[in-house]
């Protein structure tokens, strides 16, 4: 019978419930399992990246079959956001509030992660090794629970600028950039290295994603007298740039291309492979089609893993190389946790990685983090387009210290 007393009692029980759960144990961790959440674009325009999530599901399944970590199995929940930020927010709330995961791992995409960064930091949920190249994930003062993974666009721009100055102290650089966070990271990186000389050395020109072509911008840069070019553009516009630069007879001394747009299939070949000869980019992963890695132990480990756990997957897809590496990196964090999977300790261990070797990173590049360094990978090697493939050359170059 419903009366005032029973109503009060059940109300009190409801109010007390959350605190019981909280007091019970560390969030997302029981004596048998640890719950990890992730968000991937399994559908929609960026669905090619879904490969990353598929490998991770197979990876943690493999970990569980081999006995799990510290006596616990990994319950890996990887949800689809279709690369739409509102969906990312919805799925994140589900993972954090309903599934109550211990932490988030490798959530993909700059717009989606931007949408959830404040929320997960307010909730103090570790937001580890995001799959995006934006530089803003390294902001321990304001967002101590978020940390990136791959070299940021800004680091890449620093490396390009260092290389340019090494080869020609008096070079003048033109930057063609997409007018958003992605493009502006490159300007910031060049500025990091040039400092006060920036305005004297650099000419920047922007384009909008709604522009039909970048012809006007290329003509403008060419006319401004710069002799080197940095193209921070998404694939379609990068292909247009490569073609236009070639067609107007401009031969920049050095033409740097963001590693977002180095796909042979969707940039170099559409632009005309011969038109891009000599273009430079930077790499940190071992490219699965590069024959020089054929006998490399790291890549052999990856291939053996692929054959065993994902026999039907396409081994020329670089997403699998990336995903395997970042998953190994997470395992290092979990091993360092040594059984204490509280959110504080997970974050502490993720930011105390000491030169961790990852089999799929170019030899010599390691993962290193500290309480003040939220840039796990800071070195890259340059590569040159020879008309057929990207050929690596020279030593490793490290980003600037800012």
């Amino acid at each position: 019978m419903l009366n005032r007393r029973s109503l009060l009692a059940s109300g009190a029980a409801l109010l007390a419930a959350p605190s019981i759960v909280k007091a019970q144990t560390v969030v997302g961790v029981t004596s048998e399992e640890i719950k990890i959440g992730s968000i991937m674009p399994y559908s929609g325009p960026a669905s090619a990246y879904g490969a990353i999530g598929r490998l991770q599901q197979a990876f943690f399944k493999g970990v569980n079959e081999a006995g799990g970590i510290s006596g616990r199995r990994i319950n890996f929940l990887s949800l689809d956001d279709g690369y739409q930020p509102p969906k990312t927010v919805e799925q994140t709330r589900r993972l954090v509030e309903q599934d109550r995961v211990a932490f988030l791992f490798n959530t993909l995409g700059t717009p989606g992660n931007t949408a959830i960064q404040r929320y997960v930091n307010q909730r103090k949920v570790p937001h580890l090794f995001l799959a995006t190249g934006a530089d803003k994930w390294a902001d321990p003062q304001n967002f101590p629970w978020t940390i990136g993974y791959q070299p940021s666009y800004r680091t890449e721009a620093q490396i390009f600028t260092k290389y340019m100055l090494e080869n020609d102290r008096n070079a003048k650089l033109g930057i063609l950039y997409q007018n958003d966070d992605f493009g502006k990271d490159y300007i910031a990186g060049v500025r990091d290295v040039l400092g006060a000389r920036f305005d004297a050395v650099v000419k920047t020109v922007s384009y909008e994603v709604t522009d039909a072509t970048i012809d006007s911008q290329v003509v403008q840069l060419h006319g401004s007298g710069v002799d080197c070019l940095l193209t921070a553009a998404t694939p379609k516009f990068a292909a247009q740039t490569i073609r236009k630069v070639h067609d107007i007879g401009w031969r920049p001394k050095m033409h740097f291309l963001t590693d977002v747009s180095i796909s042979v299939g969707s940039v170099m070949n559409p632009a005309g492979p011969e038109k891009g000869v000599g273009i430079l980019t930077a790499a940190y992963l071992k490219e699965p089609t590069d024959p020089t890695w054929q006998a490399d132990p790291g890549m052999q480990e990856w291939r053996a893993w692929m054959v065993k756990h994902m026999p039907d997957a396409d081994q020329t897809d670089g997403n699998f190389v990336y995903s395997y590496g970042v998953s190994k990196c997470l395992m290092q964090v979990l091993t360092q946790c040594n059984g204490d999977f509280s959110r504080e300790n997970v974050m502490k261990q993720a930011t105390s990685l000491n030169n961790v070797a990852i089999p799929t990173l170019i030899n010599g590049i390691t993962v290193g983090t500290s309480a003040s360094n939220f840039h796990p990978i800071r070195k890259m090697q340059l590569a040159k387009w020879d008309g057929k493939t990207w050929e690596r050359f020279g030593g490793l170059i490290e980003g600037a210290n800012v």
């Binding site: 929609g44 709604t210 522009d211 012809d215 067609d247 969707s266 559409p270």
Partner: protein, 289 residues
């Protein structure tokens, strides 16, 4: 000075893209008195059909004609299936259908043909001309745009069918009374607009590369060009398209910088429309009530 000339030529080349899409907008407006927001997405879908045929080994111009014919049929079908049931509904309903069509066609394109950027072949000489400022393709496609413009003009001006279509759009009730089959005129208008859109897509794709969102920005500029020149005047719309291309280049380079060049182009258009609401070459329609 050299830079100025280069910007003008590059602007004309880009303007040619806007002009070809603007023509498709004029077509649908003449036939239905609506502007179809999904025009760009439909054109992109048609372009993928053309690419599929070319990749299957068809000669370019045969694939071109087949695509135009297929697009015409698709356009008629869309009108019959989607627009017909809401023919008497308010304008807002139509806008809703157009927006839905944008989403459906765009996602369908991505789902069927995937999202990677693809090169598209050109039937014209593909080398750079004038020191790379314009390519053989850009000249060829401008010629194609002018031919289409001529055909559209002749069609509306000198054929009975064209006259009937205009009548059906301007005054459906009277047109029906004099024996014009208004419903079929609308379907025909959709078909022709889709066909012209397909031509525009095929001409644009070699320049900007083919991907599902190819027309996203272009449609905006084309719309601006059509309004500038007068959306009921095919010639005016083409000139408007070229003008927008040149204005945005010169404005972006010399006046406001690249960040504001779209804004500048739109401000100029609003300015023109304030003075001449029907566009530079549009006819002012007076209706007696």
């Amino acid at each position: 000075m050299n830079g100025f000339l280069h910007q003008v030529i590059a602007g004309i080349a880009t303007g040619g893209i806007y002009a070809s899409v603007a023509l498709a907008l004029v077509m649908i407006y003449q036939a239905t008195h609506h502007v179809n927001f999904a025009q760009g997405e439909m054109a992109t879908f048609s372009t993928y059909i053309a690419l599929t045929l070319v990749n299957a080994g068809w000669p370019f111009w045969l694939a071109f004609l087949a695509t135009v014919a297929i697009s015409f049929c698709l356009g008629v079908m869309i009108e019959r299936v989607l627009m017909r049931p809401v023919a008497n509904a308010s304008v807002l309903t139509h806008v809703g259908v157009f927006i839905g069509l944008v989403l459906v066609v765009s996602n369908l394109t991505g789902w069927v043909f995937d999202y990677t950027v693809k090169p598209f072949p050109t039937p014209f000489h593909d080398g750079p001309l004038l020191g790379g400022l314009i390519s053989g393709h850009e000249l060829g496609s401008t010629a194609v745009t002018l031919v289409v413009l001529g055909l559209v003009f002749l069609f509306f001006r000198y054929t009975r069918l064209g006259l009937a279509m205009r009548a059906a759009a301007y005054n459906p009730a009277s047109a029906r009374l004099v024996g014009v089959r208004v419903g079929w005129m609308l379907a025909l208008g959709w078909g022709l607009a889709a066909a012209i859109g397909a031509i525009a897509g095929i001409m644009v794709a070699p320049v900007v590369f083919l991907e599902p969102n190819m027309m996203l920005g272009i449609l905006l500029y084309a719309f601006a060009g059509a309004l500038l020149g007068g959306i009921d005047n095919p010639g005016g719309a083409v000139i408007g398209g070229f003008a927008v291309g040149v204005i945005e280049n010169l404005g972006g380079t010399y006046i406001v910088g690249t960040e504001l060049k779209l804004t500048l182009a739109l401000v100029i258009i609003i300015g023109v429309l304030l003075v001449r609401p029907a566009g530079l070459f549009g006819r002012v329609v007076l209706s007696r009530v």
